[in-house]
Amino acid sequence: MTRYIVKRVLLMLLTIWGVVTITFVVGFLMPANPARTIAGVHATAATVEQISKLYGFDKPLSVRYLRFLWNLVHLNVGMSYHYHTSAMRIVLSRLPATLYLGVFAVLTELIIGFPVGVYMAHKKDTWIDTFLSSGLVGGAAMPTYWFGIILIYVVAFKAGLLPIGGDNGWTSLVLPALTYGITGAAYYARILRSSLADILQQDYVRTAHAKGLRRFLITRKHVIRAGLLPFMTQLGMDMAYTLSGLIILEQVFDWPGVGNLVVSGIQYIDVPIILATTIVTATLVVVLNFLVDISYMWLDPRLRHNPS
């Protein structure tokens, strides 16, 4: 088991290195001269050259790549073009707000999606199932931001019950979490429905029924427990997707997190900010995936002996 964990850690480091290298390559392919972007449109050729030297844009690719890696180890991807301080520091300072929102968003998603999925698996192929299924298809096809704006319009603007946006304590959290929860729950309920419906057909479930176990207990002990693992896998695999969703969510509700920063990064063509965000979030995804993998061993005792 230790060997497996060591192997996984090495693999994780390799993936992070790959992610970083891909971003470097993409950044290098940039057609516009970065020195020109920093200097501004009206700068003279001499100034551009000076900046180019200062930032090391005139060095050969290999030197730039090694310097990039070296700086990255020191959590430095360069100065933000707009804020004129370390881009990485700004991104890291915004990260807790995003994670805070993310935890509540995913929890809401599970609290809504889980019971619906379990219920639908039990009612499979009845009219209730068909009705809920078509509702879920619509829910999953709703653009998150659009649904968020509808909620803002109805709940915050028309009814005046909750704040429209920003971060003013826990009331600001309700609408974004609901927006994310409802659109995301549709997706997870569908997954849970199909995986649990398969388990409900298993022989051991029939045996449990035959020996007179109460339905609630069967669901809890035999069905949900067995269905939890594929569900966790899905949740882990969707981590990158979840972070994408959060970025959009923050823009809708003007939440002071990383996503908000990215949008200003787009407006000012602030490459270091977007670069830093990409690297930080991708690393986060890789680490979280690793943790999910390790947690399997805790969830499924069979894996402790033969983890591959």
């Binding site: 392919l29 057609p31 653009p143 803002i152 823009q251 809708v252 490459v271 670069l275």
Partner: protein, 298 residues
Amino acid sequence: MSVVQTTAEHPEVRLVRSRSSVFRKLLHQPRAWVFGGIAVILIFVAIFAPVLAPLNPDKIYPNGLSSIGAPLPPGTRGFVLGTDDLGRDILSRLIWGTRISMIVGIGATVVTLVLGLIIGISAGYFGGTIDTCFMRIADMFLAFPFILFVVFVATIFKPSLTVIILAIGVLGWAPISRIARSRTLDLRNSLFVEAAVTQGLSHTRIIWKHIFPNVVSTILAYGMLQVGTNIMFESALSYLGAGPPPPTPDWGAMVAEGQGAMATAPWLFFLPGVCIMVAVVSFNLFGDSWLKATETTR
């Protein structure tokens, strides 16, 4: 797996039969008719946008604003779905927006499918180091929050339609290549491929004649689902401001513009969102039916 056995003797016969029966199965599903129909209508609207749009989508009409300078509500004479806060016709912008959504949705999917098929089939067919390398790289690509990565690329190359199609298409290769790979692995171990190998056929011929046609039917169904996903991505990208530059009529950008005018003109954000939803639902459900048809035929 009785199908595979007949295939060993007459590979060609089975291919023709299986493809037509996927199609026949699709025709038997009313759901496929309805949502396939809507998808076709959307493509039709995208192609004939210049004819169908009643007004110029980018033109700012002086009579497009009320006397106090507010946008006109839907149902106004001359502007069926009203105007936006600059006085442009919403219906025309929505119709032209279909074009952007379809071009990016379908264009990016074509790029993804070509890349995913090439990588997936070669990884699954040749196995070994090639397979390990490609799948590791796929893992890395799956670690990126997709939207963010596309935003990164689009911003660096200045957002234009081509850049967005390529960014969404090229960066989305990983999931499709995984599906293509696992399909190829199944086929690689099947009897008719083994028979082809024993007959001494070249790799190119085996891949082209025996693997590719069987993988492609599955992948096309996933491609339909991908079109829906890509329409969603494109609109999200424009909502964030990394879409085609203004004044291009684009559903996602229209939602973003409408959000600011929520208090006076809620229809501005509402209508383009309905369009996105209809487009995504129809491509997704048609893809679902197609997938079901290929799975039962396999």
